[in-house]
């Protein structure tokens, strides 16, 4: 099985994941910055396919990160994934973006029985979720995702860039202080879930915040 995974909840990233390849990852790319998704994502995917020598027809399904993440960037990945899935007539699924970091934690020597994953939500807040880990199992989401102030997080080790930014107020894991959700890990997570016979959710974005719009109140009369 060949999966095209895309995530733009923080940086822009994409990966081809196969259950035939070593470690599962055929090709992948990720940007460093969090603001150029619309420019880099399509060329990145084009190159990914060319480097791997595969076409749309070879891909079995597409998985996109559904956030949480800054809205405009997040939508660029979901819009891309939905359109590719339509044009290639392939099934499309969505995974919570923080799962990507949770999987990396589980596979690292830093793994903990219970931990938080957090990314930058801007405006002094973080997107976060709580996971538990049992030996040999995939990380289990037990709470979240939420958006809130770093200072109000549960007292658990925090993995991901959201911890790194607020290392002064949270118990941030240093190894993971710059880690962002990455399509390669997200795709591996999806592959693992599918192998375990689980169904994947759809690509509905997890905004967690309403638009800032205020319904205007009635106009004040002069008298």
């Amino acid at each position: 099985m060949l999966i095209l995974a895309i995530d733009t909840s923080a940086v822009a990233s994409a990966a081809l994941i196969s259950d035939d390849a070593m470690e599962g990852v055929v090709e992948s790319f990720a940007t460093e910055d969090t603001r150029s998704h619309a420019e880099v994502l399509a060329p990145g995917i084009e190159k990914l396919l060319a480097d791997a020598g595969v076409s749309g027809a070879d891909i079995d399904l597409i998985v996109t990160g559904v956030g949480p993440g800054p809205f405009t960037g997040l939508r660029s990945g979901i819009a891309t994934a939905r359109t590719l899935a339509f044009a290639w007539n392939k099934p499309l699924f969505g995974l919570m973006s923080l799962d990507a970091i949770a999987l990396e934690v589980a596979e690292s020597t830093e793994a903990q029985a219970e931990f938080l994953v957090a990314t930058d939500a801007r405006r002094k807040e973080v997107y976060w979720a709580r996971y538990t880990l049992n030996d040999g199992q995939l990380p289990q989401l037990v709470d979240g995702p939420h958006v809130g102030f770093a200072s109000e997080l549960p007292d658990l080790p925090v993995f991901g860039a959201g911890g790194g930014i607020y290392a002064d107020v949270v118990n941030a894991n240093e190894e993971f202080s710059n880690t962002q959700p990455d399509a390669a890990s997200l795709g591996q997570f999806a592959m693992a879930l599918l192998s375990a016979g689980e169904k994947l959710p759809d690509s509905t974005p997890l905004y967690l915040r309403e638009s800032d719009a205020q319904v205007p109140g009635p106009r004040k009369r002069a008298l």
């Binding site: 150029s36 998704h37 619309a38 420019e39 880099v40 994502l41 399509a42 060329p43 995917i45 084009e46 396919l49 060319a50 076409s55 749309g56 809205f71 405009t72 939508r75 660029s76 990945g77 979901i78 819009a79 891309t80 994934a81 939905r82 359109t83 590719l84 339509f86 044009a87 290639w88 974005p205 905004y207 638009s211 800032d212 719009a213 205020q214 319904v215 205007p216 106009r219 009369r221 002069a222 008298l223």
Partner: protein, 380 residues
């Protein structure tokens, strides 16, 4: 990568072009073959903005994301074509709301990557003019003039365009629709449609303001109150020989303030607010200043054909007065059918088709959307 295989059946004479529009609150997908319109499918998030009294960018962007694939699917179905048969894709890359543009641009790029078809990133304002080049027959005859602008796909030599909508108010000169477009004047603050929305809210008439004010104005006396015409003082206008800094520009924020003050004065005196008269007088102020400056710009720049575009082209008084003033100035006015005046994908496809027929190369998939793309950049 797949680019080569598409070249084989690529048709530069009558290219089949799919256009994508997402610069404001309409998700549009249109398909044209050469200058023939095959379909114009639009999904609007307007209803979601009603309670806010104006377009909320984040709400519009969320709606674009959910509307895009269904709109694309419907357009292909209506036109009876497959993605494989399309020769090229065109997308609005600006100007417009940044977050909204991003959705259409990302979708268009994905479509280009998935199909290997060339992608054209085009200017939204110029696309409003490009729609005039669609054949009269398929797009419905224009309301005045000789039908579609482009007899045989060629534009009149001395062409101008007056674009009036909730997002823009501009007068353009078009020497070549593919590579020579100039901005003669524009609003320096609110767009005309925005002024309508704000004043409608002030008068308690709901959203969108244009149709509500237009309707009520018919029962009012436009001469009952005189509201200011922005940027018409000599210091802004100058003379034809020595034009002032805003000779062809508009400003509507002062007008909005004047309406607010007027309403307050009635209330302060404990009198009923003559809503219909205010609506009529406001509309007259907007339409008068738009048309007088537009016709002035035409006369002083040798423009003999004027295309009216944008959603406010639906306004009955704007159409009437533009028609009158153009005919006294011997300017031929062209008004595309309303469905092609408001934001739509067909206009994007129409401009894309012109670019291809003119032999202009595609934009690739690395460009960035530009919320303030200048009108001089027809394609990126």
């Amino acid at each position: 990568m797949n680019q080569l295989s598409t070249v084989n059946h690529f048709n530069p004479v009558q290219p089949l072009v799919l256009g994508i529009e997402s610069s404001c609150d309409e998700t549009g997908v249109g398909i044209v073959r050469g200058t023939a319109l095959l379909t114009n499918t639009v999904s609007s998030s307007m209803d979601e903005h009603v309670r806010f009294g104006g377009v909320i960018p984040e709400i519009a962007s969320r709606a674009h994301l959910d509307a895009f694939v269904p709109t694309l699917q419907e357009a292909l179905h209506e036109a009876g074509v497959t993605l494989d048969e399309i020769d090229a894709i065109a997308v609005t890359s600006g100007p417009g709301l940044a977050g909204a543009l991003m959705v259409g641009v990302c979708a268009a790029k994905a479509l280009s990557v998935a199909t290997g078809k060339p992608l054209y990133a085009i200017n939204h304002l110029v696309a409003h003019v490009g729609v005039g080049l669609l054949d009269g027959k398929e797009s419905g005859a224009a309301r005045s003039g000789k039908g579609g602008l482009g007899s045989g796909g060629r534009l009149p030599e001395n062409l101008g365009a007056l674009l009036v909508s909730g997002g823009h108010t501009e007068i353009l000169r078009i020497r070549s629709i593919t590579d020579d477009v100039e901005m003669l004047g524009s609003t320096i603050d609110d767009a005309a449609g925005e002024a309508y929305d704000k004043v409608a809210r002030l008068l308690g008439l709901g959203y969108p303001g244009g149709p509500a004010i237009d309707k009520l104005a018919k029962q009012g006396n436009a001469k009952a109150i005189r509201f200011p015409r922005g940027l018409t003082q000599p210091k802004y206008m100058g003379t034809a020989e020595e034009p002032g800094p805003h000779r062809y520009d508009w400003s509507f924020s002062g007008l909005k303030t004047a309406v607010a003050r007027c309403v307050e004065q009635f209330e302060a005196r404990g009198e009923d607010v003559p809503v219909a008269d205010i609506a009529a007088a406001f509309q007259e102020a907007v339409v008068d200043v738009i048309t007088s400056k537009a016709v002035l710009a035409c006369k002083e720049n040798g423009i003999t054909d004027l295309l009216l575009g944008g959603g406010v082209a639906a306004n009955s008084r704007l159409r009437e007065l533009t028609g009158q003033r153009c005919s006294s100035a011997e300017i031929t006015l062209h008004v595309p059918p309303l469905a092609l005046c408001t934001d739509n994908g067909a206009m994007v496809a129409a401009l894309g088709s012109q670019l291809i027929m003119a032999g202009i190369g595609p934009s690739g998939v690395s460009f960035a959307p530009d919320s303030s793309l200048p009108v001089t950049t027809v394609s990126v």
